[in-house]
């Protein structure tokens, strides 16, 4: 019997070029798996660095490595820096701080930004206007500028307020980057909430008399997860780059703890004689940012999220 169910329209329902492209996209590309693999490896090394024999301590001096003597090779995989410390080790330990800061600030951004976005999108009216103004203002400040100001002042604030004693540099950075992450997240969540609000299942819940809080938690939030995840990953890449920039500018975490930005800054004076000390941290930063971007991009295509730009 002929297959009558599938009717082809006069202009082929599937433009042949488009179809081929779509097929290619659907297969999870090599890049995605490489990105995930890299990140998993990085996290693993960062978490277990203390127990892995082949990673030296970041402060340990490599004999004979003073003043960048040793280039990349067998003794020190990525060479040594000015104080004969192992560049590779410092990079791995540096990733700890960087990843931590990135993840915590993203969580902050998701919580605060998500909350603001949901409230604005669901309740609309005055709430929406207030939140929108806040978002606009946050976005009017160039990101790095805001971060710089916040960090520099948070130090002073901490000193003058006793109950903020726990707010050491690392947490200041987390807070700052978190605030940076809030605005774009709030915007996306707001847009998604406004769209979801009018969908049938939400209307159904509301018509049954469900209280707003219940509707938000049970119906809307679960559906926000794809959007949040996507923005989170792409946002992480931006936050990590920002952390690098801040460290580079001298506003990063305190002295002994290495982060990639700091490593770049420390060693850039001698970049002509010891390129390895700057290049490898650079590379790590790039690969991490790229990996998060790849994942974020893949997620956005999977969930079909259209963003105007984070």
């Amino acid at each position: 019997m002929t297959a009558v169910a599938q009717a082809a329209a006069p202009v082929p329902a599937v433009d042949p070029v488009e179809a081929k492209a779509r097929r290619r996209r659907r297969k999870a590309p090599l890049g995605f798996y490489c990105a995930v693999g890299f990140l998993v490896l990085l996290v693993f090394l960062a978490v277990f660095a203390d127990y892995l024999g082949f990673i030296r301590s970041p402060l340990q001096k490599v004999p004979g490595g003073a003043r960048y003597k040793i280039g990349p090779g067998w003794t020190a995989w990525w060479g040594t820096d000015g104080l004969s410390r192992d560049v590779f080790a410092r990079c791995i330990y540096g990733s700890r701080t960087t990843l931590q800061v990135g993840i915590y600030s993203t969580i902050f951004g998701i919580t605060v930004g998500g909350l603001l976005g949901v409230l604005a999108g669901y309740f609309r009216g005055a709430v929406d206007r207030v939140v929108s103004v806040i978002i606009d203002c946050l976005l009017a400040l160039p990101g790095l500028l805001l971060a710089i100001i916040l960090i520099s002042r948070l130090g002073a604030v901490k000193e003058s307020t006793t109950w903020l004693n726990w707010l050491d540099r690392k947490w200041q950075i987390v807070l700052t980057l978190g605030i940076l992450a809030t605005a774009p997240l709030a915007r996306i969540v707001r847009a998604q909430t406004m769209a979801l609000r009018e969908r049938e299942f939400v209307l159904a819940a509301r018509s049954l008399g469900a209280k707003p809080a219940r509707v938000i938690f049970r119906e809307i939030m679960p559906n926000l997860i794809p959007a949040i995840l996507t923005v989170a990953f792409t946002g992480l890449s931006i936050l990590i780059a920002s952390e690098g920039a801040l460290a580079f500018l001298g506003l990063g975490v305190e002295v002994p703890t290495p982060t990639w930005g700091k490593l770049i800054d420390e060693n850039r004076a001698k970049i002509d004689i010891a390129w390895w000390a700057t290049l490898f941290p650079c590379f790590m930063l790039f690969l991490t940012v790229w990996s998060f971007n790849i994942i974020g991009d893949r997620l956005s295509r999977r969930f079909d999220i259209r963003q105007a730009g984070v």
């Binding site: 070029v17 081929k20 492209a21 103004v133 606009d136 203002c137 976005l139 009017a140 400040l141 160039p142 990101g143 790095l144 500028l145 710089i148 100001i149 916040l150 520099s152 002042r153 002073a156 604030v157 000193e159 003058s160 307020t161 890449s237 780059a241 920002s242 690098g244 920039a245 580079f248 500018l249 001298g250 506003l251 930005g261 770049i264 850039r268 970049i271 002509d272 390129w275 700057t278 290049l279 650079c282 590379f283 930063l285 790039f286 940012v289 790229w290 971007n293 790849i294 991009d297 105007a308 730009g309």
Partner: protein, 333 residues
């Protein structure tokens, strides 16, 4: 017209709120230890200066009053005094603004000049080898922030790298000066280019990548529209269809992109100026923050915010210029 006024109002409100917030942030916690004026001025100001400053900016009153006086002075051109540099802040900014503006202008211009032909060609030859390679490359370049690209380009272009292969010696690099001197274009064009080339390149590459991706997406969509088929069916040459009909309709995404990327450009400029030692506003800002020269910080930040918001306003108005439908809708609104 009414729309324009609305947007102007928004601009003003946002500017006020943001600069107020910045001021509060900066002046928060000033009261301890010691005199607010002392901390604000930084360095080692004379007692007389402290007294003068406290009086002029009303540093002993609450924040709203302080803001008013700050703002009032600001628009008159009095942006505070930097003890560090022994200069009024306004003069400092004047000295440095050109560099930053040049950086921004160059990077946006070149990024657009690169993105447009690239994206158009990509959209025209969709899914060809060219398209796919270009897409991959642009995606990669989107992920190279300034801090990453600056050292890499320094190694490649600025430092002399001598490779010996057998008897041959290849020298790559050494073409550009190590420390960027802010040579103005009208002083010495060649030196100017040599000094600005690498910094601008660092900013341009990720920007061009972002713009290319934006434009390609928009063009691919536009080219599928009916009116493109009709234009071809009228006998219009593909080049004309592509550029006059296709691109013309896709420029919006590019415009939006410029507006959105502005924050990133400022951040990038800050990093680039610090890395290459270019004496622009970004470097000054960082120096001021590290040395606690807070007056400078506040005013410089205010200027940068004003610039960003202004450009966004212009972008928004340009929409009406580009798209008659929007012009129409706004006129009716």
């Amino acid at each position: 017209m009414r729309y324009f006024l609305q947007r102007l109002l928004q601009f003003v409100i946002v500017f006020f709120i943001v600069t107020f917030g910045v001021m509060v942030l900066i002046r928060m916690g000033l009261n301890a230890p010691g005199d607010p004026a002392r901390t604000l001025l930084g360095g080692a100001p004379s007692d007389q200066l402290i007294a003068e400053t406290t009086a002029k900016y009303h540093l002993d009153s609450n924040y709203l009053v302080q803001y008013w006086f700050w703002f009032w002075n600001f628009i008159q051109g009095d942006m505070g005094y930097s003890v560090q540099n022994s200069l009024p802040v306004f003069d400092l900014i004047k000295l440095r603004a050109t560099v930053t503006l040049l950086l921004g202008f160059y990077s946006i211009t070149f990024a657009v000049l690169i993105a447009v032909p690239l994206a158009v060609r990509q959209a025209y030859k969709r899914d060809s080898v060219f398209d796919r390679t270009a897409s991959g490359l642009t995606f990669m370049f989107v992920s190279v922030p300034a801090i990453v690209l600056a050292p890499i380009l320094t190694i490649i272009l600025i430092d002399k790298n001598v490779f010996s292969i057998g008897d041959y010696q290849i020298t790559i690099g050494g073409w550009f000066p190590r420390v960027g001197n802010k040579v103005y274009p009208w002083e010495d064009p060649v030196e100017h280019i040599k000094n600005f080339f690498v910094p601008v390149l660092v900013l341009t590459i990720p920007l061009a990548a972002v713009f290319t991706r934006l434009l390609r997406g928009d063009m691919v969509q536009t080219l599928q529209a009916d009116f493109i088929t009709l234009a071809s069916a009228k006998g219009v040459s593909p080049r004309r269809v592509l550029w006059l009909h296709g691109l013309r309709n896709s420029l919006f995404s590019l415009l939006t992109g410029v507006g959105l990327q502005l924050g990133g450009i400022v951040g990038g400029a800050i990093v680039v100026e610090t890395f290459f030692d270019l004496k622009g506003m970004g470097a000054m800002l960082v120096g001021a923050i590290l040395s606690k020269d807070l007056f400078t910080v506040q005013s410089t930040a205010a200027i940068l915010v004003a610039c960003v918001v202004t450009v966004n306003l212009i972008v928004d108005l340009l929409y009406a210029v580009l798209d008659p439908r929007i012009r129409h809708a706004r006129a009716l609104a």
